[in-house]
């Protein structure tokens, strides 16, 4: 077993464990902290996949923004009544069955695919994938339209979140 495989196995185990702990903890602040560990594990996976830029974006966007936003929302909506309640709904058993079945079906289906054991082709030396990604995102031959649509979506989400979360006016 190479060092790379060892790192992958360790990080994969940590990611899956903290993801599982996240969905089973009834304390939401703990769940959010385990979410951060899981997201960090995914960032390491991106590094193993030679996507360093995405790993940085993962840390900035997911851990720096989304997870912190989650913790803010948990603190804004936390009250003493909901803290000690049962955290799972009555369809708990169905959820276990359905998600286990789904993951099992995915793994079985992937196992039958012929390219499943493919090894990574070597990237050409001296190739800068970050520069290539940047020019692909803004070149007309590349992904400039999805890129612009994503920016419009972010603007719409920004305005929408402001409108939805704004306090109600008095007398309405």
């Amino acid at each position: 077993m190479t060092a790379e495989q060892g790192v992958f196995l360790f990080i994969g185990f940590v990611t899956l464990f903290s993801a599982y702990t996240m969905v089973t903890r009834s304390n939401l602040v703990h769940a959010a902290l385990f979410l951060i560990v899981a997201l960090f594990g995914v960032a390491v996976i991106f590094v193993l996949l030679d996507a360093g830029f995405l790993a940085v974006v993962q840390v900035l966007v997911y851990i720096g923004a989304i997870a912190i936003l989650m913790i803010f929302a948990v603190m804004l909506t936390q009250d003493n009544a909901s803290r000690d309640q049962e955290s799972m709904n009555i369809n708990y058993g169905w959820a276990v069955l359905l998600s286990a079945l789904f993951a099992f079906a995915l793994i079985v289906m992937l196992g039958q695919w012929q390219d499943i054991g493919a090894m990574a082709p070597t990237l050409d030396a001296g190739r800068d994938t970050v520069v290539e990604l940047g020019s692909a995102l803004v070149s007309p031959d590349g992904y400039v339209i999805p890129f612009e649509v994503a920016s419009v979506l972010l603007l719409a989400a920004l305005i929408g979140a402001l409108v939805v979360a704004r306090p109600q006016k008095k007398g309405k």
Partner: protein
């Protein structure tokens, strides 16, 4: 060297755990956290396919960036809705938010 299958199995497991979180949790914020896990599993898949099957063009990484943008938009609007519901109904329990339930 790590075969492609390891990444795909990891992301299948992560997706299953996220799906379980979405289906089983009562708290609306915990459900959104489960959605984040599922989006991360999808992203691992996209980047793994880029690295192993088409590393010569950047489509995989470009679409992973789109998934990041959509995830950020989704969580912003989702949490705004949760906070708005909490302000009016004093609850974030998905079972009690049933005004429009048939």
């Amino acid at each position: 060297m790590i075969p492609l299958s390891w990444y795909l199995y990891l992301s299948a497991g992560l997706f299953g755990i996220g799906l379980y979180g979405v289906l089983a949790r009562k708290n609306a914020i915990a459900i959104l956290m489960g959605v984040e896990l599922m989006l991360n599993a999808v992203n691992i898949n996209i980047v793994a396919f880029w690295r192993y099957l088409t590393p010569q063009n950047m489509s995989g990484q470009a679409f992973a960036v789109m998934v990041f943008a959509v995830a950020a938009a989704e969580v912003a609007v989702g949490l705004a809705l949760v906070i708005s519901i909490y302000r009016r109904r004093k609850t974030v329990d998905a079972n009690e938010i049933n005004l429009m339930k048939w």
